[in-house]
Symmetry: C2
């Protein structure tokens, strides 16, 4: 936890009182003492310094004096990964600054994955918070779930992608991943095994370019970090 994130309504004047996981973490992992300074931030707001007043109850006096880091202007469209991988992918994308994630179905997504409790709003929020705490950011990503591939790609994705560079990762593509883009990007990443040809054609029909990181087949979390790093400026 590189940043202690709290909600605006947890503040009273310039004092924040923390309970539960965060208080426990500050006592047990940071081993903080009264007078110590921690990096803090208010959800969707500014970042600053919190000075420990008391440890139990855990109270911090905070000064919020700077903006969070700039977002990565990438909308991530992601085929639902295995539940075991989902948490790392959400936290990882959030840590890299992604602010909109749409989780979609695809032919190679196992149906049972959609029943995972990890898709609950509570868990997705918790993983996003973990990503923000890691990266010293405060701005939560919007995470949406779309269980039907075609209606999403045909009816919704065109307006999501409008005005952005729209790319879909496809191992068989002949184009490299574009680098250091300065404008908005819509990036689609398939499941393990990739999107099937018909799905790739659906993306291409609405103007997506297929791009490849090369001949190596990477795990979803590795591919995601690599793709975001390549397109990011």
């Amino acid at each position: 936890m590189n940043l202690v994130l709290f909600a605006a309504d947890e503040m009273s004047g310039d004092v924040v009182r923390l309970t539960g996981r965060r208080a426990e973490h500050i006592r047990a992992v940071h081993r903080a003492a009264a007078g110590d300074d921690l990096t803090v931030g208010v959800e969707n707001g500014r970042i600053g310094r919190g000075t420990v007043i008391t440890l139990d109850p855990l109270e911090l006096r905070v000064v919020l004096d700077r903006e969070p880091p700039p977002p990565l202007p990438v909308t991530l469209v992601l085929a639902l990964p295995r539940p075991k991988v989902l948490n790392r992918v959400i936290a990882g994308a959030t840590s890299m600054g992604v602010k909109r994630i749409v989780i979609i179905n695809a032919w190679r997504v196992e149906k049972s994955y959609w029943k995972s409790p990890r898709l609950s709003p509570e868990n997705l929020h918790a993983q996003s918070v973990a990503g923000l705490e890691q990266a010293e950011d405060t701005v939560l990503p919007a995470i949406e779930l779309r269980r039907l591939f075609r209606p999403f790609v045909e009816n919704e994705l065109p307006s999501i992608a409008a005005g952005s560079r729209a790319i879909v990762a496809h191992p068989k593509a002949s184009s490299d991943v574009p680098r250091a883009l300065t404008g908005p990007v819509t990036l689609a990443i398939g499941p393990e095994g990739g999107f099937i040809e018909k799905e790739i054609e659906s993306f291409m029909r609405i103007g997506f370019e297929t791009v490849s990181l090369g001949p190596r087949i990477l795990r979803v979390e590795t591919a995601m970090a690599a793709l975001l790093a390549r397109v990011g400026n």
Copy 2:
């Protein structure tokens, strides 16, 4: 397992007999039948197609007709990560094509990590194999362990880094990570929390440049994939 890797001495003529984990995986996960084709490769050698002759014992008739993908010309110098993360980092770096990994000590590496059974040659080999099986590669990385930071950096690293672009990831650096390098790279990545200033100075004294991915603090596996993707061509 996108590629079934075997050793040259498991071949007899053009037939490979597999036992244990790989045979089990082909039967249970690939659900292969006699006559099915799988992607195969011989350790440190060529790639090709294996046709299932019999399932039990599991025998494949193989044709090795192409080279593995080109390596990523990056030597990775990595502060020992938490044992929980080590496996993913080794498999991830291998999947991205790294062929030499030196795991080193650093001030912020907990001493207990060096006692982890995950540092055994057997486990490091198993994780490298997992990375090759994922990426459809055959060439194992060399993995070395160096428990003393200063002797390694002062006496060994200069010749390892000679002739390469030598960079150390440092969140406070003012230079961006160089992109799309065509020559060899030596990339040093610190532990969670980063290298301390004295360590950074040791790298700089032997000619390393400090580079930063930006203000976000990333987990080691995310940072590694992002750094390799940025420098890779």
